[in-house]
Structures are given as structure tokens and as C-alpha cells.
Symmetry: C2
DNA sequence: TTGAAAGCGATACCAT
DNA sequence: ATGGTATCGCTTTCAA
């Protein structure tokens, strides 16, 4: 035994099994509880103890097992994020912001993407077993789903969704106000003949934008605006314009689109297939303010959603609900920010 | 007590605490182990027992606690996905595919987004405590990081990254082959004066694309191609073209861009600031095959990465490594698919 | 301040 | 096929 420099240290490090608090305790010659305490923020540990334990932990590459901790504390430090259309250009930004804010708050993100909005049922079955501390949902849930959250005492915050039949916390962009800003600016600029290219009928946000547009137009005395379209895709914008033009009656003055990508598709159809260039011959507006909206070929007039504020609100609301389950439900509505580009004649 | 219809059933359901296997056992009048077995796929349970337990579970809304299960089985059924640039248009698609495939395979995804590639250190500290079964990393990790994976016996698969100094599994798109296809087609179409707009110098993929381009050009006897640019943004494409034109010497015949978004920025700069329209006056090619590449205003000639195959490969490799840790490391390289659009004069 | 011991909610092995 | 019991790795009383 003489001359050995490192006892079983190396063995511990290279052994397959992850290092536990017992290993650290043994190595440091203290109790296992002491190790645990050293890794708990506000615990009462002597300086000396802490130093010894931390040194041992460092040496062995110890990291507390979050799974075991969750079991006893009944806090997983996990939240689930449900997103329906990651391919919608708007969501990657939201997701990036959400995960970053959660990380900063010491919470991990379990991601669930739904390909169809109807998948919620199955996805929730996958969520429950992990005892997540809360859920941020940017996907359509039914009142029954929301009731299950209540029953299970799992805090829920909707992002750009909500249900008016039940009480639930949510963060939204004010679609109605945004649409109003767009239409008013177009109207002021002299447009009278409008058309609407709507999003998917099963998207609350999409329906809200469409409805708000029709309402505002009616208030302005315009009642004959055609409504086309059925999803959030470029193709929807493109094809809807072709339909619109094929219907005869000449081009509209202005087209209200379900979102930016639809607007981009519409602009391309007008230019490529019908020789109409914005803002000279036609005005097109979008919604969301995604990256490509500012690309020179499109330069959209649109409503930019304040994503950073909205994600911040969603995360902080959820964390508050986790800390204080009796927190009253709250609906936070953010106004979008008008961006005027050259896709429309517009008067602010 | 006479006349009561439902004993403590309702209490169990509405009580705050999640339902455990003990609750179910009591309710069904069987042992707790029996309940556990009923939820384990291949266990030996009588039909009668299963029916009774399942009924009780259903009634109480029982879902096995995945956290507790993980603790004893040493399998979290969690994998971590590390992504550096969610705002890079290419990644949302990758992420959506990855999570969907993982869900299908019964594995949950813990998402970590890195804002700077250098953040890997801190992020890994957040990953280890959750005892994830494996990691898919589309972010730059150092050999030291990879060594830590080895030490901890955590399977790792790189997605569009790799390190040639260490042995690690990875799924990549063949950048070199893709670039070659692009350049050869451009060369064949008569282009001789090339320029390169590169991506970020700390992106392996970006550097590889640039290097491959320079090499191929050299093989074709072209040695004076200027290299500009420094990231994957639209602005990079836009500004680099302006720089290129400001340098004098007239426009190049063809521009090789780090990715599609850069190519789009370049096309816009040529058209808007210099009156050069593709493919008549200029040829521009991109890489990735993201959605906007097919928009009519750009219609890029580009290399489409076979995302579905690549994500499928990544997930199945990781799952295989989880099942069989001694699995040899493997590098799977997929050829990109040429898409010819009208952003370049091109000869196949 | 420290250590011993009791859970957290499941799985797994062992008898029966 | 079923029930009893040890165990996973931690946190949390409770004494000392």
C-alpha cells in the first residue's frame, strides 16, 4: 500500500454508476445529510464542512440527482411547453425566449410539439407522469382539459390562446386592437375595397383576427369584403390571391392577411401572376412581425407582437402560480406594435 | 352513515395530492406491487386483476409517477436536445421532427437553447442533474465536453456538428458534396468569377462550407474568389454584397452563400441597391432548403438537407446507444438534395 | 452545526 | 399470479 498516491478516487470517477451523495460523504468523511445540506442554498453548514464537502464533490464530479430530489420535494423544476405549429415562423422565437427565461429562473423545459391541434389529449397523457410544476400552452385545449389541470393542481398559462368559457391565465397579443390599427391606417390612406385572407378556422387567434377585421370594416361602412383562405401558409396567401383575381371584379385596394407569411404569399402572387406591385397597385398587411417581414422584397406593414414582454409575462405568471397556487387567474393582453413598411399605402 | 352512495372516492379525486399506486391498491383491494405490475408492459398479471386495477386507476385518475420510476429503474426516459440558434430558420424544422420522433419512441425531450455557442459549459451543468438517458447536440461542444459524456456514460449524438479529434456519433449533411454540386453546376453554366459569403467563423458547418467552396474553386482553377461575411443572417448577405460591390471590379458571376437566409439577403442587395436581378445579371446559391427558399421572390438554387432522414437517424442512433452502451461510435453523412431555382444560371 | 433515520413513489426480487 | 420488502438518491425532521 505504500506509495499509492490516489486511493480509490480514480475508481469512483471512472466507474460507470453516477456519483451519489453517499460517495461524496464517504470520500469527505462526513454524513450523507451533511452533503445534502451543502447543496441546499439556505442551509446551516459550517465553513469548514462546506469546504470539505465541496472539495470531495468536485473531485468526484458529483451533481445532485434532480430526479431523487423531485421525488421528495414534490417539485420537479420542470415545466412543459406545448406548441402546436413549430413550423409557423412566429413560434421559434417564442420558444427560444421561453426556454431562455425558464433556464434563467432555474426551471427546465419539457417540449411537446403537436402536429395537429387535436393531439392535445394524447400529449397531456405524456405530460402528467412527469409531475411538471406547470404548463405553458400555445395549443388549443378544451374546457375539459383545463378542468383536468385544475383537478391535478397543475398551473397553466395559455400563450396566445384562451377560452372564454373557463377561467384560465393567459398572455395574449391584442389581435383586435392590432387589426384595428391596420385597417384604420389603410382606410385613412384611402382604401375602400378590402379583402381578407384568413388563417385556419381552428385557430382562435386566426378567427379572432378575421372577426375583428370584419367588425372594423363594418364600422367603417364596408360590408362586402370577401374572405378567403384557410391556413397560415405562404401557399394560402398565394393561392387565395389567385382565386380572388380569378373571381373578376378587379383587384381590391387592400388585403388583410392572417399573418406575415400569408401576406408574403399574397404579395408574391400579386406581383408574379398579376403584375401588381405594392404599394403602388395594391396594399397588403400582415401580422406578427416575424423576421422575413423586414426583408426588402416584402417590407411588410404589420403588427409586431411584443414577444419578449409576452414570454416574460407568461413565465413570470406561471412561476407565481407555482409558488402560490391560490393566485387568481389573470389575463394579460399586450398591444402589438405597428410596423409600417412599403407593402401598403398607409396613413397613421 | 346510511344512505351514503360514494364513500371516499370523490375525496381522493379532488384531494390536492396526486394519486399514487397505494391509493389505487387500497381502492382496488390489492397489493401495491400488483398495481405496479399492471402498468408494466410485459408483466404477468391475471385478466381479473388487471381489470380491477385499471378500473380503480381510471376512477382515481391515476398516472404512474415517472419521477419515482426513473429513480429505481435508472432510466429517466428523458433526452436533452441542445440547440444553439433556434432563430436560424433551419432549426425549428429539425426540432419539430426530433421531438415528434422522440415522442413516438416514448422519450421526452428536455430542451436547452444556447444563445452563444460558448454557453455549452453552463448548459451541461443544467443537464447532468436530470440524468437524461442521452443527448442530441446541435451546438458546438469541446473535446473536454465530449470526454465528460464518456465519463458519465451518457450517449451523445451530434447533429450537423462533429469533432474530428475525438470519436463521437454524429449525423451530418454532406456539406462538401453539397457545395461541390452547387459550384459545379454554376461552373458548367459558364460562371468563372465567384464570391463567397461565409457564415460565422465559430460554426463548424459554416467553416466547412466555406473551405469546401474554396477547395472546389481551386480545383477548377479559380483562386481569387473573395470571401466576406461572418454570420447566418439576412443582414450578413445584404451587407456583404454591398461591400463586395463597393470594392469595385464589378459584380461577380456567382455568389456562394453560407445558407439560404444569407443568399436571400444577397439577392435583395443585388436587386435593390445595384439593380442586378437573378438569374439574368447575377447567380446566387444558398444552402439548407428552408421554407422561404421556395418563395417566388427568391426561388433559390440550394441544397436541401434531408431533415426527416437526418432526424430519424439521430434519434434511432441515440436510442440504440441507450439500449446498448457499447455500441461503436458512428458517423452518418447524408447527401443534400439539389434544388434548382431561378436564383442562378445553372447546368446540371 | 452535525448525524441518524424516516420517507417520497415507484420497481424488482423473493417467497408463497 | 400475487404480496411483502428492499431499494433508488435525495430531503427533512429530530436528537445529540
Amino acid at each position: 500500500m505504500a506509495g499509492r498516491t490516489r486511493p480509490d478516487k480514480v475508481v469512483s470517477i471512472t466507474s460507470g454508476r453516477p456519483v451519489t451523495s453517499y460517495d461524496v460523504a464517504r470520500h469527505a468523511g462526513v454524513s450523507q445529510s451533511a452533503v445534502s445540506r451543502c447543496f441546499k442554498p439556505g442551509a446551516s453548514v459550517s465553513k469548514k464542512m462546506r469546504a470539505r464537502v465541496m472539495a470531495a464533490a468536485e473531485e468526484l464530479g458529483y451533481q445532485p440527482n434532480a430526479i431523487a430530489r423531485s421525488l421528495i420535494t414534490r417539485r420537479s423544476n420542470l415545466i412543459a411547453v406545448l406548441i402546436s405549429n413549430l413550423t409557423n415562423l412566429y413560434y421559434p422565437e417564442v420558444l427560444a425566449e421561453l426556454t431562455q427565461r425558464c433556464s434563467a429562473a432555474g426551471v427546465r423545459v419539457l417540449l411537446f410539439t403537436l402536429s395537429r391541434e387535436a393531439e392535445a389529449d394524447e400529449v397531456l397523457q405524456l405530460v402528467w407522469p412527469y409531475r411538471v410544476d406547470g404548463v405553458i400552452a400555445s395549443a388549443q385545449l378544451s374546457p375539459a382539459h383545463v378542468a383536468e389541470f385544475e383537478k391535478r393542481n397543475v398551473p397553466l398559462v395559455f400563450y396566445n390562446r384562451y377560452l372564454n368559457s373557463v377561467s384560465v391565465s393567459s398572455v395574449c397579443c391584442d389581435q383586435e386592437d392590432g387589426v384595428r390599427q391596420l385597417i384604420d391606417g389603410l382606410y385613412k390612406a384611402g382604401h375602400r375595397k378590402f379583402a381578407i385572407i384568413a388563417g385556419p378556422p381552428d385557430s382562435v387567434v386566426g378567427v379572432e383576427r378575421k372577426t375583428a377585421a370584419l367588425e372594423r370594416l363594418e364600422e367603417l361602412g364596408i360590408e362586402d369584403a370577401p374572405v378567403l383562405g384557410e391556413d397560415y401558409s405562404y401557399e394560402n396567401g398565394f393561392n387565395s390571391v389567385n382565386e380572388l383575381m380569378a373571381a373578376g371584379g378587379g383587384p381590391p385596394d387592400a388585403v388583410i392577411c392572417a399573418n406575415d407569411v400569408v401576406a408574403i404569399g399574397a404579395l408574391d402572387a400579386f406581383r408574379v401572376n398579376h403584375g401588381l406591385v405594392a404599394p403602388r397597385d395594391i396594399s397588403v398587411v400582415g401580422f406578427d412581425g416575424v423576421g422575413p417581414a423586414t426583408w426588402k422584397s416584402y417590407d411588410l406593414t404589420t403588427i409586431r407582437q411584443p414577444v419578449r414582454r409576452m414570454t416574460e409575462a407568461a413565465v413570470s405568471m406561471l412561476l407565481a402560480m407555482i409558488e402560490e397556487p391560490e393566485m387568481p387567474r389573470e389575463r394579460r393582453v399586450f398591444s402589438g406594435i405597428l410596423r409600417t413598411g412599403s407593402s401598403a399605402k398607409f396613413a397613421e
